[in-house]
Amino acid sequence: MRSLMRKSRPSRQYHSVAAPRATRTMGGGQARTSANRDPAPSRLAYKVHRLWLTPTFRALLRVGLPIGAVLLTVGWYFSIPENRAAIAEKFTQIQRSVQERPEFMVKLMAVEGATPVVSDAVRQMLPVDFPISSFDLDLEAMRQEITTLDVVEKADLRVRPGGVLEVAITERQPVIIWRHEGILDLLDRTGHRVASLMARNGRSDLPLIAGAGADDAVKEALDLIETARPFGPKMRGLVRVGERRWDVVLATKQRILLPETDPVAALEQVIALDQAQEVMARDLTVVDMRNPLRPTLRLGEPAVEELRRIRAIEFGVDDQ
């Protein structure tokens, strides 16, 4: 009966001894067979698994660990002085190789806007060995150095394409000669020294001023000289007195003492007097305009004698 059953219903043959699956992950499902003891993760395995599932830990491992390793390696590499030196040297080498490319080389210097004397002086001041890389040129320092020349009012330095160091110089224009302490200096409009002069004849076209502190009042002096144009060649120059006021010195040893304030008006007053009464053609040594309200004249010695004689005649007093 049993064997017959087996034949007719083979599907009823069961094998019942297979051990039950101890752990099942539903939906996933790996079957683990065990004998007696059910499998379980050890405490350590469990904790490690939980740690592994911690998002911060994962992030730390994924980001922090590589970064840490790289930092450690780099730090170790740089902690050795030879490596640092080698890297610095390599860097300098590369830097030089770029800087010394022909595109960056400066081959000659062109000085523009300067007289040959100044141009030579500038070339002497800047002892540059051409060709040189434009990276090695400190244009600002060079400009400062050129500007120390009195004659140079403004200097522009730039490296022009084609490897030319262009120095554009604006020179100061001398407008006046200043005699002081036995030296003749050329001054520009602002009173700044331009150059020295060997002899007055060198620049006879320029007016002359003298006296200490005259260079501070060049503008006023120029105004006065302009005003004194009617004197023509009789005019010798201006003298600064006490660093506060001007004297006009004429060729006839005559002096016009001008006030501190508004000297131009005082001078105009004198010129007007001269044109009307030819005052300056008379025998006087000093026209004192220091107080413009009370112009004072100092006569020459013969004129004084003559005046006294005439007065004596007028008053009937004997000459003796």
């Binding site: 009823r12 001894v17 039950p20 992950t25 405490r43």
Partner: protein, 444 residues
């Protein structure tokens, strides 16, 4: 009592923390299997206040993202018997579920079936002076319930207000905001052996997990196996587990009674093992594949090879007919059901309007149980399967997972319990004074 209160409150705050993280694990510690589900919460934003689902503990939609089950070891009668073994089993289940979810869980809500659950019905009354009921009043009335003597070494597992009455109106679900003079509450308190809870706490702590809630397995399987109208009208859920059979009676969507019978599927297995002289694992397998409780003529002809590995041919080729197997199983199943019947009688279940009985749990899958159970329990018996929840694997949809699924629902929509309400303000000063006094005494 306050100790329980603070413990349960700590668990509630732990649950809040888990909700913040959005991941929580469900651990059903049964006698035959330990199931672990990992839930991901989509956050409470899904519901608005106007949807009318606001709850004190907060609600949230969830999805099962990890599930694992392992054979239980070290658990007997739904209680932890061997701590190390249970800890290993919990670890296995948690790790497998974590692996599937690919996420780490720190918070776990657990349920167990044993520990001699005992139900108490409490009532409390408080005067209101014709004012609107506030949350504070609810807390006061809950505190006004006089605690019965629950006995030495017992702890409160659930303390749920099941019914509020305001003046002469009873059956209120939520009295807050209503005006009356006298607020009364009926509270259902479920107590269990504290030693069992201590063991469970210890095991879960050993697994580096934080306990975010504890529930009775009978209660949570009722939540998942009873449909809504059954919960509303009154029904009993019988969770036929491995080591113990849980019984919970629901009415008006609240559990009003719970009990357990310390008999279960393991006893059937051991009967088969003894009766057929086979190892327990074989007996379990035979029970699962060929078990039944109603024999037919066909079963006499269906032979089962029961095998063996002694090397003795005669012994190893033994066969048994299915009818014999049924003959072994049926008396035990009848015994379990009769015990359940006795419990139901003791609870006064026959006074309920609707006497629906739902069988669930792994034991309810025995073929023919739907024929046997009505003979013992009454006509309104059905076999229940747990609710479908989102993301639950097919393998975990069986009746054996009723309590695990119920625990998911419990985690997502917890019933307001006594500890969800603050301690009434007037009892504060005395308590803190006493505590200060004790602190001085302890330290000087």
């Amino acid at each position: 009592m306050t100790d329980i209160y603070s413990q349960q409150r700590a668990m509630r705050s732990m649950r809040e923390a888990a909700m913040q993280r959005g991941v929580i694990a469900i651990l059903d510690i049964g006698s035959s299997k330990i199931a672990c589900l990992i839930l991901r919460f989509d956050g409470p934003d899904q519901f608005r206040e106007s949807d009318g689902v606001g709850s004190l503990a907060g609600q949230s939609a969830f999805r099962v993202i990890g599930a694992a089950t392992t054979r239980s070891r070290g658990v007997r009668f739904g209680e932890i018997d061997a701590m190390q073994e249970t800890e290993r089993a919990i670890r296995t289940a948690i790790q497998a579920a974590q692996k599937m979810a690919n996420i780490r869980v720190d918070h776990v809500i657990a349920c167990f079936s044993g520990a001699n659950p005992r139900s108490y019905g409490l009532d409390g009354v408080v005067e209101l002076n014709n004012a609107a009921v506030t949350e504070d009043d609810v807390a006061r009335v809950l505190a006004a319930c006089d605690m019965p003597d629950i006995g030495e070494g017992r702890e409160v597992l659930h303390a749920q207000p099941v019914n509020f009455a305001l003046d002469h109106r009873s059956g209120l679900n939520d009295p807050r905001g209503q005006i009356g003079n006298r607020l009364a509450v009926d509270m259902h308190v479920l107590t269990v052996d504290s030693a069992v809870i201590q063991n469970l706490l210890y095991c879960i702590k050993r697994c580096d997990l934080e306990l975010a809630g504890l529930a009775s397995s009978a209660y949570v399987s009722g939540i998942s196996a009873l449909v809504e109208d059954e919960q509303e009208l009154g029904a009993a859920c019988i969770d036929l587990g491995g080591g113990s059979t849980g019984l919970s009676i629901f009415m008006k969507k609240h559990m009003i009674y719970s009990d357990s019978v310390r008999l279960g599927g393991d006893h059937v297995t051991s009967d088969i093992s003894k009766g057929l002289q086979v190892p327990l694992s074989t007996a379990e397998r035979i029970k699962t594949f060929y078990g039944g409780v109603v024999a037919t003529g066909m079963d006499d002809r269906e032979m089962i090879e029961i095998g063996g590995d002694t090397g003795d041919w005669e012994h190893d080729r033994r066969t048994v007919s299915r009818a014999e197997l049924i003959g072994i199983m049926r008396p035990r199943v009848e015994e379990i059901l009769e015990e359940v019947r006795a419990c139901l009688d003791a609870s006064g279940f026959e006074h309920l309007r609707s006497q629906q009985i739902v069988l669930t749990g792994g034991g309810s899958q025995i073929p023919g149980l739907d024929g046997l159970a009505p003979k013992i329990l009454g006509q309104q018996v059905r076999i229940g399967r747990p609710l479908r929840v989102q993301g639950l694997p097919q393998a975990a949809t069986g009746a054996g997972f009723a309590s695990a699924v119920g625990l998911c629902l419990f985690a997502a929509h917890p019933q307001d319990e006594w500890w969800d309400f603050d301690i009434p303000a007037e009892s504060y000063p005395a308590r803190s004074l006493r505590r200060a006094f004790r602190w001085f005494k302890d330290n000087w």
